[in-house]
Structure formats: structure tokens, C-alpha cells
Amino acid sequence: MFLENIKEAITSIFSNKMRSLLTMLGIIIGISSVIIITTIGGSIQSTLTATLNSMGGNTVSAYVEARYPETDEEWDTWVYPDMTDEDYVTQEMIDGLIEAYPDEISGIAAQSNLGYGQIKDETDADNYANVSVAGITPEYLDYMKVEMYAGRNLTKTDNETQKKVCVIADTMAERYFDGRDPIGEKVSVVLSDGSIHDFVVVGVYKYNQALFGQVDTSIPEKDRSTMMIIPLQTCFKLQGTDQTGYDSFNLLLTPLADVEQATADITSYFDKIYADNENFHIYAYNMQSDLGMINTVLNVITVAVSGIAAISLIVGGVGVMNIMLVSITERTREIGVRMALGAKRRTIRQQFVIEAIVLCLIGGTIGILIGVGIGALLGTVAGFIIQNMYAEYANYIIMEVHPSGSAIMLSLFFSMLTGVFFGYYPANKAAKMEVIDALRYE
């Protein structure tokens, strides 16, 4: 009976194709707009998530931040306080943090720039290499997803003992050392302030233009600057400051750690340590909170579009109701015949409700197909635009375009609901007909 009704409904809908299509238009527009927006939104969301995660999403960034005044009066006289030695985050604090949360935090990635310099070959005046010298913690290369090419990475001991060792780029090593093995070689760097420092090369990393910026081809290859990496503590020493702590750093998390939880733990850990510090505290944040904001915006848009879709569904539903009323009037005789042949009132009601539901479901399905199609297209276009705008990150952008499954299910559900809601009144009208009147209807 139920199946018969569905077949009957489909026959009836298809016997009036144009009318059915026009009736479904409201529903098609409503559903497809929701699907388009959710597909684009979902694609942006998952592309950003995947991309940020691949670029160190599993970290918490933190920095020393001044305690800002709370009232307007205080703001007027407030000046940003100078940082003193006690305000920096020390390696002991970090060690204590890792000890306190070994399941969450695995290390610290911090960096400080020493400045630009030039490596000079004492035996060959024409042979030189431009470098930017940066002090880093050993974990920093992992954090930046830089791979080693030869030799070894910097170690904790290098850092603690302020060794004058360095890791250089493969492109620079190849050219400067001209095929010789650079490991173990000594290089002299003349910094821009004129000071000269000697370092022993312990490793070579693979140059990655996504991380260090695109190669500026307007400069001859010989003059191009690459990053030379030295231990952070060595860098602090060479900078001539007393600083041994960090003012800005990234904490690396274990693979299973929950980023939000880790951020909260880190904040509370430093809040205790900085409780007595009047001027500064530690502000910790993660990329996921940035994502959270993007998600919030996308969700607001989705809700707004869903509201419009709801209106469209209501309008579409009224259209369905209207056409069902017309259809019932047209088919009065048929209803009479069916009743004479033994159809009960509820059977007639069921038949027309099912017809309205099928009509709405077909409309909903068409809407979903259109929505998925256009959504996927726009999502892909958006992806290409992003990839072209940030070409240097192209390798790091992970495009994910897919429609939202829950949106599709919800759309089908709401189209069905529209059918039930707006189909019931006409169907009930049909069911309430008197058989002799219906039979005699011309």
C-alpha cells in the first residue's frame, strides 16, 4: 500500500513535469543555498584546519605580556614597563612545565635573531656567503618541519654550554664549500656591526622556501641570504645582553595532547609563577583559537543562510500546498472513484501526504545536488585563489572540498517535514470529501 502510494505519487508528479518543477523551485532554492554555504564553509574550515595543523598546529605559542591597566584613568598615565631579567621565562620554568605535564608538552621552540652577516673565505676573497644568523632551541627545526640534509641538529648541550656551532642551508653549503664536506669546517661570520665570530658547521638542513620565503631571483645566487642556525644561548651571549630567558616561544605538544587543555594548563602554570610580578604575565594561545574565531564567523553565516533557507522552505511549502489543493480539486472524481472502490479516508489522506512528501523530497534532492555541485566548484575556486595568493605556501595548503553530510541529512529531513506540514491540509481536505459528491464532480 505504502509502496503503491509512492509509485502513484511519482506517476502523478511526473505526469505534470513543468508544474511540479515550478512548485519545487522554492524548496530547490532553499536547500541548495544551504548546501552551497555549508559546503564552502566546511571546505574553508577543513582546509584551514588541515593546513594550520600541518604547519605546526599542534603547538601553543606564548609570550611575556605586560599587565594592562583595567581602568581608563590608569590607561592615561600608563607606560609599557621595561623588561628586567626576572620577567623572562627561564629554561628552569620550561623544564618544570614539561615535568608537570609530561603527557602534554614535549619541548620548547624559541628563536632570536642575531642579525645579518657574511661568511668570508680567508683563502679566496671571491668566495663568500650572505647569512642571517638566528639562535634557536634544538626543537625549533622540528617545529618548523625543517629536515636535516647532513650532519646533526643542534643539541641541548650545545645550547646549555653556549657552543659556537652552526647548521647551514644545503643551497649555501653546496655553493660555498664547492663539493667539499662542510661538516666540521670552521666558518667566520662578519656581522653587520663589524664583529667577527667563528662557528663550526655541525649540520646542513634542507632549504625550504615555504618556510623562509620565496627565493628572490633578482639577486645573484651568490648574494642570496640563507639562514644560519646557532644555539639560542650562544646567540644571547653574542648579543651581549644578560638575557638567558625567553620572551616569546612556542611549546611543542605531544601528538595526543589536547591543544585547548594544554593552553589552559600552560596559562595556569605561568599564572602561579608570575602571580607576584606586577608588570608582566604570560599569555598563551594556540592556532586553534584563531580557527575557533573563523569557525564562529562561518557558523554565524551558516545560521543566517539557514534562516533564509527556512523562509524559502516555508514559501516553497506554501507553493506545494497550493498545487496540492489544485491537484485535489482536479482529481475530485478520482478520489470519489477510489472511495467507491473501498479506499478509506485515512488511505486517501496518506496518498496525498505521501505525494506532497515525495514532491518535496525530489525538490530537496535536486537542491542538494545543485548545492553540492556549485559548492564544490566554488570551494575549489576559492582554494585555487588562496593557493595563488600564497604561492610560497602552496605545498602546505591541504585542499579539502567536501559537502557536509549532516547538512544533507538535515536538508532531506526538513524537505520531508515541509511535505508533511504543507501536504496535510490538502490531503485532509481530500479525505473529508463525501464519496457521492466527489463521484458526481465534473
Binding site: T11, V337, A340, R345, I436
Partner: protein
């Protein structure tokens, strides 16, 4: 003697009851039709024969009096039960065929089975049998608009017969047909009556058609004025 198929006692039908334009159409009809009879109800238009037919066919309710169909008082039954009775016990044949336009002949014949309470096995086979009985098996796949009037009426008769009803109620079955096809349809009724012993009630305004039946009940102004044997 077994219970008559139709037993009507003092059936009164009034329209616009209690209103100023109240109109009594049937003024107390007493009618008994026994199993296996072929009865025609004749009357001019306005005689009340359509109203009587609607009551016999359980399409309408009488205002007063009682109507027993196979011994069951159908007057007091709910709409649901009356639907089931129409479905199982009455086979309708209408003047204008009343086939479903979007369904083919076979599907049309199957409609009463679809609305039946009990699941009938081999619905298609049964419907084909009925079509074969009226000589329409070769046109089973045709829609009503692809059939001639006589063919349509034969499909309608097959539909009326499919649930093996207690009575075939035919309302001017030849009214929309030319006389040749009309005769063919009448012959079909005679065959059903003679070969299968069907009880048939024929409603018509034509004395000529009525005279073909066993018994002629003449209706005039809502009352039975004659009830006599026919030519056969």
C-alpha cells in the same frame, strides 16, 4: 430460505433536513433482492433512482428505515466499515466508466485489491483472469484513453468482479455507448448472471434495457409503483 442480498424496509431519504428547503426524495422504499436475481430499477430522471442506487451501493446513508446487505445492517456502520463493505461486497459499474486515467487496464482492475484489508496473493494473475473473462487480456497494458468506450466498460466490469462481490451495481452502464456496444455490455452482464449466478442490480431510465432483465422495479416520484417480471 437464505437471507436476501438486499433487504430494504421503509427507506426514506431527505435532503436539507430541518431546513426550509427540506426535500424528501424517497418516501419509504421496501425492496428485497434475492441471491442470483437480475433486477433493473427503472425510472425517469427525478424519480429517485440515483438516490436509491447510492443507498444500495453504501455510498450514501438513508435518513430513516433500515437496509440490510446480506443480513448486515449497514445503515449504522462507521465510514471505515462501509468502505470495507463497498470494497468487498459491491462491484460498481458506472455510466462514465470512472477508470483511473493514469493507470493501465490491469492496474485499474487491481485497484480494489489494493484497498482490501486482506492481502490477496497473485494479484496480477487474478486481475489478468478478470480481464480474460471480459475478453480484454490483450489490452491489459493500455491506458483508458487508448481504449474505446466498450473496452473501458469491460475493464470496469472486470474491476467490479475482482473481489467476487455480493452484488454488481450498474448505473446506466450503456448510457455512454452506442447501441451495438451497449448490447455487448448487456450480454456480458447476462453471462455473469447466468454462468456465475451473480446478483445484478441495473439502474436505468430505459424501459427497453430493463425489459431484458428478470425483474423490473419501476420508481416514480420516490415510490415503487411496479415490480414485475421481465422478458427473460
Amino acid at each position: 430460505m437464505s437471507e436476501p442480498v438486499i433487504r430494504m424496509e421503509k427507506i426514506i431519504k431527505t435532503y436539507y433536513e430541518g431546513k426550509p428547503n427540506e426535500l424528501e426524495i424517497l418516501h419509504g422504499i421496501d425492496l428485497t433482492v434475492n441471491q442470483g436475481e437480475f433486477v433493473s430499477i427503472v425510472g425517469e430522471s427525478g424519480s429517485g433512482k440515483s438516490t436509491l442506487m447510492n443507498i444500495i451501493g453504501v455510498l450514501d446513508r438513508q435518513t430513516a428505515g433500515s437496509y440490510f446487505l446480506e443480513g448486515q445492517d449497514v445503515g449504522g456502520m462507521s465510514d471505515e466499515v462501509r468502505s470495507a463493505i463497498r470494497n468487498r461486497r459491491i462491484g460498481f459499474v458506472f455510466q462514465n466508466f470512472n477508470l483511473l486515467p493514469r493507470a493501465n487496464a490491469l492496474k485499474n482492475v487491481m485497484v480494489p485489491l489494493m484497498y482490501g484489508e486482506t492481502k490477496v496473493k497473485d494479484q496480477k494473475e487474478r486481475a489478468m483472469e478478470m480481464l480474460a473473462m471480459v475478453g480484454m487480456e490483450e489490452r491489459a497494458g493500455h491506458r483508458p484513453n487508448e481504449l474505446s468506450g466498450g473496452q473501458k466498460q469491460r475493464v470496469a466490469i472486470a474491476r467490479a468482479m475482482i473481489n467476487d462481490p455480493a452484488i454488481i451495481l450498474a448505473d446506466e452502464p450503456t448510457g455512454a455507448l452506442d447501441s451495438k456496444t451497449g448490447h455487448m455490455v448487456m450480454d456480458l452482464f447476462h453471462r455473469l448472471h447466468e454462468e456465475q449466478g451473480k446478483t445484478i442490480v441495473l439502474i436505468t431510465h430505459s424501459q427497453e434495457l430493463a425489459s431484458e432483465t428478470q425483474r423490473i422495479v419501476t420508481l416514480l416520484d420516490g415510490e415503487i409503483v411496479a415490480d414485475k417480471g421481465g422478458a427473460r
